[in-house]
Amino acid sequence: MLKFNIQKSFKGQDKHSKDLHFKGEVDLSGVCTIFGDSGAGKTTLLRCLIGLESCTGNITFQGQQWLGSNSNNKIHKLAVEDRNIGVVFQEPRLFPHLNVQQNLELAVRKAKNSTFTIHHLAEKLGFSDLLSHQTTQLSGGQKQRIAIARALLTNPALLVMDEPLSSLDVTSKRLLLPFLKQVSEQIPILYITHSEHELFYLSKQMLLVNNGQVEAIGEPQKLFLDSHLSLIKFAQQGLILTVLVKEYDQQEALIKGCLDGQTLYVSAEQAPTTSQIQVKINSRDVIIALQPIEGSSLLNCLSAQIVDFSQDNQKAVVLTLQVESQSIYAYITLRSFNKLNLAIGSHVYAHVKTMSIIN
């Protein structure tokens, strides 16, 4: 368990000071994603937790006090180097005067009984042939893979990552995401991202940061449906569903999938490598009908129930549809809403024009 209740105030240039107050409890299993708008305070929260940014309050990690006051009311702050956190920053930050091997050895030298070895990680992350290279010769993707290995080699009790994949190419991401998911089974990860793809793929727990505060902590699927959260406008643009892969038709380049019993077709250039895929359904790509539409090009028709709706000021209605155990949002006009006589509890057919695979 990671518990924190911390404050920090910034003195802005125009004499407006900005106060941040983060309070929360994070269950340390798997990946906990820190999500929120730019400038919401995600990185500051992370830097305070690591100890790189000064702040006041309390932080406890698995019963160990990182920040707080001791019995004599004196402030106790555990030094960064004693917190046993592996950190991957947005930029790789490898030491430029050392080669790859030497960079990694710096981490190994300080690790107590490491579970990983340089050799093993180099093979797993595909940089075995780069060990003798100078770090200045490497590409951004190569450097970041080495930075991730370096953080793991310290044998951390917690891995903290600040948008580690944001500047990487698709190939690197495809390699790293499953790897990180696997790592998170051994080491808990705190993970900042802007990408809802990474969020839904990696994490079962999400910490929503808004305006210098922790707004909510919970499952991403639940928070994306909570209309009280600041996230809602963003969430209503489209939701991510988990689909079970049944078969792949090479000729038609189509995956036949199963969404809790209902059939779904997703186009894909290549056969999926995993038994589950995640697809994003944009709310504006959903067509609502009271009967299944016959004789059209639409491939996907999901039987659904309206569980909630909200009207935005553009005379449009956002429906929250329950499809078996999962949810999707649908954007329709107020006119359609009235014409079809929709209400909470109505049973409808959701036709999905397009959807995209995200992993």
Partner: protein, 228 residues
């Protein structure tokens, strides 16, 4: 060829420069670190004092040191309370003067390297488990090694080349204070031009090759690391 007196002066000069450089490499790094990082109001004052030998005529510095070393003043008096001879006209006096005189040449390259050092490397070092001092000597020192060598080399070379300060406080005692630059001056005054040529050439060749190594190799190497 070189005379016995020349060899003695060369040996004395090397001894003076080595000792001075050694002392400077102890004093300058923490001072340069402080100058590069401190936000206090007295920093510009200290920075000016350190840089003073760059602009002040060496004779001015030598003159004040000569006065400070005299037994009528605090420093000279304190020195004489546990030594038989005065600081003025002694080798020890030369070392003290050289340290002050060459200080900016050692501090400035270090300060510049520390200013350009990205703070993020210190943060990474901490997250890898390296403590406050450990990260300085295990990671930052090797990273900035070219700058440390440049600083030491400049301090060494500058000490070898000093004249005015030595003339004021050292006099011209063979084996004690008669360094190369003073001996060269002696040779010229007594019209021994071939001897003067030899010493001048040695100094010229030494300084040129040192600067070529610094600017042609070490500085480039350091910049590659700092701009990475």
């Amino acid at each position: 060829m070189l005379s016995a007196g020349d060899y003695q002066a060369i040996w004395l000069t090397l001894k003076l420069a080595s000792l001075t450089t050694l002392l400077l490499m102890i004093i300058a790094p923490p001072l340069a670190w402080w100058l590069a990082r401190s936000q206090t109001k007295i920093r510009p004052l200290i920075e000016s004092l350190v840089a003073l030998p760059l602009v002040l005529p060496p004779t001015v510095l030598g003159f004040y040191l000569l006065i400070a070393f005299s037994p009528e003043h605090f420093l000279g008096e304190w020195w004489l309370s546990f030594n038989d001879t005065s600081l003025a006209f002694s080798f020890t006096g030369l070392v003290i003067a050289s340290v002050i005189y060459s200080l900016p040449f050692v501090v400035q390259p270090l300060q510049s390297a520390f200013v350009h050092l990205d703070k993020s490397y210190l943060e990474v070092s901490a997250t890898l488990g390296y403590g406050k001092y450990e990260r300085l000597y295990k990671i930052i020192f090797p990273m900035l090694l070219p700058s440390f060598i440049i600083a030491g080399a400049l301090g060494f070379a500058h000490t070898i080349g000093e004249f005015g300060v030595v003339l004021m406080i050292g006099g011209n005692i063979p084996g004690e204070t008669q360094v190369l630059s003073i001996l060269l001056f002696d040779h010229v005054e007594s019209l021994q031009y071939s001897a003067a040529h030899q010493l001048s050439f040695i100094l010229l060749a030494f300084s040129t090759s040192l600067l070529v190594v610094i600017y042609g190799f070490l500085q480039k190497r350091q910049q590659r690391v700092l701009n990475a």
